[in-house]
Amino acid sequence: MFKDFTQLGILGINRRIGEFILPYNPRHLYPLVDNKIKTYQLCLENGIPSPTHYWQVQSHGELKEMSRHLSEHASFAIKPCRGAMGNGILIVNDVNWLDNGELWSFKTSKGDLKKKDLEYFISGILSGMYSLSGLPDEAIIQEKLNSHSAIARFSYRGIADIRVIVFKGYPVMAMLRLPTSQSRGRANLHQGAVGCGVDLATGSVCHAIWQNRNITTHPDTDETLATLKLPYWEEILTMAVKCYEITGMGYLGVDIVLDEERGPLLLEVNARPGLSIQTANMAGLLPRLRLVKGQPEVLSPKKKVKFAMENFPAS
């Protein structure tokens, strides 16, 4: 029944957990990647560029000071510190002010919201509504990113992101995720985003899927996806490799965004990256993972990137 799968080396959920996540990702390191504030600290300490945090909200009481903290920013993104799968993220595009300097209403990714709605949303994050464990969480208000012009015309609103699977510090597979009208700006495949397989050798889109079906053009913008080539490709891969070095996690999904002004920025690191990247690339992860298993763990990021670019081109 699964003969084709084995032949193509498709990685299934059970093997992902049993052979890669459990043995290579030590449990005590999880907070570094599940907690976005800790990841941000690591980035700051190690000089990895990432979106600036404007305000970190720890308790419901701090919400009173919302106007003061956000007064200088016309746009921002709100996220749960320990969220997953793009849940609980709100993008604020524009802020309306009252005459007395109080925040009033917001144009957001979920429509026009009143200040009260925004407070409720953040309060929901703090209560743990979107956190992995359901435990009380913290909220992050960070800079809103502007999609890089090389990608923007392909994408429908929102910010596209680049997911790189890194095993033992070697990039093994990459995918570009483009939001659609259906995904409402979110870059998650199961929410309706487009997944584009990216040739590790060149950074060009080699294949694309939407709703688990093959496509050649973006469903909203109609742009031919195969013409998309990611700029800063080597930098992106090097950034992914560095994430392995700063977290110590053997099997990682690194999410990177391309900002128009700032270039590649580390968005988040995932200790349980999904498997749809295989469909997006029309290739199984297993042969690549097995090849990396035999490679030395300690090697300069540059050499690891070179190894990946040479060995894992689009097939």
């Binding site: 059970n14 049993g18 799968m85 498997l275």
Partner: protein, 536 residues
């Protein structure tokens, strides 16, 4: 490491199998004990806390249920902090308590566990009983009306003159009295005393029984009242409903006592579905009332199997086996183990569904708790409950969310709603829903799990949309129904109860599922696009 794992697995799976083989094929103990379904255990509690000071010093006689015609009674256990012995009394049997003279200890409660069995097919047959002892004495005793007040006697006499003709024989007189009471004296549970029944022409079971008895005695026909308990619910479903106290009179004609059913109106029949506890209810009532003794009687469980015989057989084979057998536990604990032992099987099914088939569910415990609920009630009630719970999930999403409530109070509201739904389901289906005392503990903890289920359901709904939620919901239902179908098997429950060592094998099987690194069945669909285009 690998060979250690193989060894461990082999041991875990084979040991229980070998042990069961040893018990059944070598020691010749039957695989599961014989099943029976008409033997019930009831708990009879005498509350002696209110007893008067001087009564405490004297020996005290308490009425005790005994075998009678179609019903067999076996006293299993008597729990008392005082010395007691069994003695005749109350028309059948009694317990006599002998308090310590010097001690000032409270008498507390005395509990009797008794097993009752009834020939179920014998309902409704005429069940007169022969009198063997001194007939004259019984006659004297049961026509005595000394305790009646003069004015009551007069109104009884007036009524009697309207009803019977002196030339009638005893049977004819009783028949006339019976017709009068069943047709003219309405049932009203709040009218209890003879005086009231006479003036209002309505009465409770007790009141009407008294009227019949006293009218019979007035005609020199010995009469007495039986204290009976009516049982409801279906026996074969493995539980018995509540026991309701009821009374019916009996008259002595010739050599026989004849029952007169004025509850379901069958002349000379024992009312259907009744256990007779005491044949002289007046005496029992008086005794209990004078001594301030509270008597309660409640069913504990239906004995599904003949534990006693099985335990005896085990004892002859090996002392250790019989010591370790769950059959040696008190009956009420036994019945909770029948359920508890199912939980590991449920989690095993869940691991299989999730890791080998690839079906997702809301939480680990939700499907198991739900399926136990299905088992406790019925498929229909279970589904009704499940639908209501899902409805609360929607209500939370579309109504509660609009009020911007903080998390803990919101959860608290959900929990309260769950309990309300629970109450509602119980009330609507009260006739089938019996939360008998034996599994009360099991009824408390699901509420929290169900509440968390709703919370997760609602968050999934907001975050991942209707389609994804529906898929997980269907997955939850799938596992629930799978568990329900498997849990329904009486054979499985008895096997687990008899051979709890099977749990080791369950651990072993979980080990195997946990080490399975192959594909899940649902991944066939998920990655089919890759294989499709790779072949083209």
């Amino acid at each position: 490491m690998k060979s250690f794992k193989t060894l461990l697995l082999t041991l875990l799976i084979l040991l229980p199998a070998a042990h069961i083989f040893y018990k059944v094929n070598i020691k010749k103990v039957s695989f599961i004990p014989k099943t029976s379904s008409n033997e019930w255990t009831v708990e009879i509690v005498y509350d002696l806390n209110l007893i008067s000071e001087d009564q405490k010093k004297r020996a005290l006689s308490l009425p005790l249920i005994s075998s009678w015609q179609n019903q067999k009674v076996e006293i299993k256990k008597i729990i008392s902090s005082h010395r007691y012995n069994l003695a005749p009394g109350f028309g059948s049997r009694a317990i006599e308590i002998v308090p310590d003279k010097d001690s000032n200890k409270e008498l507390g409660k005395l509990t009797v566990l008794a097993s009752l069995s009834k020939k179920i097919n014998s309902q409704g047959t005429q069940t007169r009983s022969k009198v063997y002892t001194d007939k004259d004495e019984i006659r004297r005793k049961y026509i005595n009306q000394d305790s009646l007040k003069e004015d009551v006697k007069i109104s009884l006499l007036n009524l009697n003159n309207q009803l019977v003709v002196q030339s009638d024989d005893s049977l004819e007189k009783i028949r006339k009295i019976y017709y009068y009471i069943t047709e003219e004296v309405l049932r009203n549970s709040s009218v209890d005393t003879l005086e009231e029944v006479l003036s209002l022409r309505e009465g409770s079971d007790w009141g009407r029984a008294q009227l019949l008895t006293q009218l019979a005695r007035l005609n020199k026909i010995p009469a007495r009242i039986n204290l009976a308990y009516k049982y409801s619910g279906e026996v074969y479903k493995g539980r018995m409903g509540d026991l309701k106290k009821s009374f019916f009179p009996e008259v002595l004609i010739g050599e026989y006592w004849y029952p007169i059913d004025i509850i379901t109106n069958n002349f000379m029949r024992v009312p259907e579905k009744h256990f007779i506890l005491y044949q002289d209810a007046e005496k029992v009532r008086k005794e209990l009332k004078n001594n301030h003794i509270q008597l309660t009687i409640a069913p504990i469980m239906v004995n599904k199997v003949d534990s006693k015989t099985y335990q005896k057989k085990l004892g002859t084979v090996s002392g250790l086996l019989s010591y370790l057998s769950l059959h040696s536990l008190p009956l009420n604990q036994q019945s909770s183990f029948y359920i508890i032992l199912l939980i590991p099987i449920g989690t095993l099914l869940l691991s299989f569904s999730r890791n080998i088939i690839g079906v997702n569910s809301f939480g680990i415990f939700t499907p198991i708790i739900l399926s136990l609920f299905f088992i406790e009630t019925s498929f229909l009630i279970g589904m009704a409950f499940f639908s209501l719970i899902v409805l609360i999930g929607f209500a939370q999403r579309f109504i509660l969310d609009k009020f911007y409530l903080l998390a803990v109070p919101r959860l608290s509201i959900l929990l309260t709603l769950v309990i309300m739904v629970y109450l509602l389901t119980s009330l609507i289906f009260s006739h089938e829903f019996s939360l008998s005392s034996d599994n009360a503990t099991l009824n408390y903890f699901p509420i929290v799990i169900i509440t968390i289920f709703i919370e997760r359901f609602s968050v999934t709904f907001i975050e991942e949309g209707f389609a994804s939620t529906l898929k997980t919901l269907m997955g939850t239902l799938f596992i629930t129904i799978l568990c329900y179908l498997i849990f329904r098997s009486e054979f499985l429950r008895l096997t687990l109860f008899n051979h709890p060592e099977i749990l080791l094998s369950v651990v072993g099987l979980n080990f195997i599922i946990g080490s399975y690194k192959g594909y899940r069945l649902t991944e066939l669909m998920r990655f089919q696009e890759i294989t499709k285009s790779r072949h083209v």
